[in-house]
Amino acid sequence: MKYWSETLLEKKRILITGASSGIGRECAIACSNLGAHIILMGRDEKRLQEALHSLSGTGHSTIICDLTLVNSIKDHLAHLKSTEPISGFIHCAGIERTRPLKSFDSEDFAVMFNTNVTSAIELTRVISALGYLEKNGASYVFISSVSGINGEKGKLEYSSTKASLFALTKSLALELAVKHIRVNCISPAMVQTPMFKSITDSLPEDSVNSIEAKHLFGFIEPSDVANLCIYLISDLSRKITGSNIVIDSGYTLK
């Protein structure tokens, strides 16, 4: 595979968390358009079914799973072993919250860390074990955030979970190369998702305008992130591993 084609992801089975909305749902739709079989993972059965019906082609499935319950993840994936080999994994699930230091709550943070980070590690551990993957290897993509690079006032919890994702990306890339698994990370700035809407609805209008002004080409669309995911999941990026690719519309330049 040297160049882009409409069958780029044909026969690839891709596990996507946070698949019922936002970036996850967009990735699922985009990958299915290029021939992939998608395993959609999420908490809400109804929204997951809606996402499932929006996919192109056949051979897709859903797994209903609360990722904060990390110890249950293995059981939710057991049926895939030796039956449906995975060739890609996109971790989009995540909790976002603005909460300054003085309001820090360790229990709330544990829930966020489980969803954003620990579940990513556990999912990676399970599917990287014998019997889950394509023989030719696989590609994993973690959705991080520029707030993990630059930090942000009031985002110490969220930004530290997102920084963890690209730190673990590098370690996993080194550890899993022997199994022909590539591991990469994408760090977007503000993406126009339902999460984005809840953030902007809560902020004063002038704050929203000032954030938007820093996005030199406008806020990012979920499809912008999905297109990058397609590239990283596909064999076109076969020499890329351990990278954190920023997609920020110029946000971090200023």
Binding site: T98, R99, P100, K102, S103, K153, G154, S202, L203, P204
Partner: protein
């Protein structure tokens, strides 16, 4: 929670050294900034189980208007 306890906790949360009363205008204090408002969102949710956003809390001015937003029924007399 009584109003008296609430005003004490509010002053501590916002790091305001003065004693607060129902008539105190929070917007007179530079400590009542966007970060404090985010802390107040978390505090009100945890203490009263009511979820407001920063935009809503940015619209109140006096402590009394905050009490009314939370709901007077949430306080002990």
């Amino acid at each position: 929670m009584t109003i008296n306890v609430f005003t004490k906790e509010l002053a501590e949360l916002l790091e305001i050294e003065d004693d607060l009363s129902l008539e105190t205008n929070l917007k007179d204090y530079e400590e009542y900034d966007s970060m404090s408002i985010m802390s107040l969102v978390a505090y009100v949710h945890k203490t009263f189980g009511k979820q407001f956003n920063a935009r809503q809390l940015n619209q109140i001015d006096t402590v009394e208007s905050l009490v009314e937003l939370i709901g007077k029924e949430s306080f002990d007399s």
